[in-house]
Symmetry: C2
Subunit: 204 residues, 2 copies
Amino acid sequence: MYNNAGKRKKVKLSEMIQYPNGKKDVWQPKLHSASQRGMNLEKDLNTTNAYYLGQDIAVIHKKPTPVQIVHVDYPRREAAKITEAYFKVPSTTDYNGIYKGRYIDFEAKECQAKTSFPLKMLFAHQITHLKSVVRHGGIAFLVVRFTSMEVTFLADAEKVALFNENGGRASIPYSWFLEHAYPIDGSYAKPVDYLKVVDKIYLQ
Amino acid sequence: MYNNAGKRKKVKLSEMIQYPNGKKDVWQPKLHSASQRGMNLEKDLNTTNAYYLGQDIAVIHKKPTPVQIVHVDYPRREAAKITEAYFKVPSTTDYNGIYKGRYIDFEAKECQAKTSFPLKMLFAHQITHLKSVVRHGGIAFLVVRFTSMEVTFLADAEKVALFNENGGRASIPYSWFLEHAYPIDGSYAKPVDYLKVVDKIYLQ
């Protein structure tokens, strides 16, 4: 954010941690954390989920990428080779599992844009899915990383759905995340420690 | 079971519905249900889950088949074609989701053998996974269909794990399912109505 200030619109630190209503208890993200810089979000989430699993904190996995398999060669029975397949639209979200007895479900997106998160990065049925999860008593959210800011947010699914339904806007401004979402802290062992945020906003 | 009796060892109906301890309140499976005969378990579960989703009863999906993608052709940007990929060992189970606020996780297997379910059909880490789910407060089980019997059972994951740990046996006999598991009834709209069993054995 600062070391690259000349390359993009500068965002003041004060803009990031001041909240208009003064009610939110939000900790400051590690903007220059070595663990986050240059690694992608999926890798960081996999590392984090492996940590949660290894420490028996939670059982949360990324779902496999959905693929439509058209042709498979069987040179040997034990070595089937898929020779024609296509990527399919995922019917749900990427991550789900269980934490402290609660069903957890979220979608993760890396956003290159600096000033807003384009809603076209989500499918309408993914938002529908997340709303269903909430209706059935689960915890549903988005994890959005603004790569240029080196900040990762947890945004509650219902708030995102509300923005999507009321706004008529094509993207969610960065300022909305500062006001309505929660920065996710991390460390080497758990680069995106989103369950700390889940504890704070859903389980207290 | 009866119309094909000559082709295999005959199992008496009385053997299927009598329970030694007399405690279980188990309903009789529809042995000749047209909806089950000739359809495979995955298709039946997908139909059932679509019904649950459509009626807003539960949000439970099959996970995509995990595939290791090695090579992708991009003739056009919007039409990526996977030309080399391999099936991967699934890290968890096939199905999970949420029902009445509870995390649900299960593996489904169709069993061709008539007298037992071979444990080699499950990976050790899948049993470990199901035990973790239970430890974190979720509901975990197997759905096993004996195709020759036209009967589908729900078997609690902890009971299966216990059998696996104590038995030193390579397969679970059919008689074990009659005593320790629960037949799953169905209808055209929900061919494998496993949530009825979940209600009965986990949520009462």
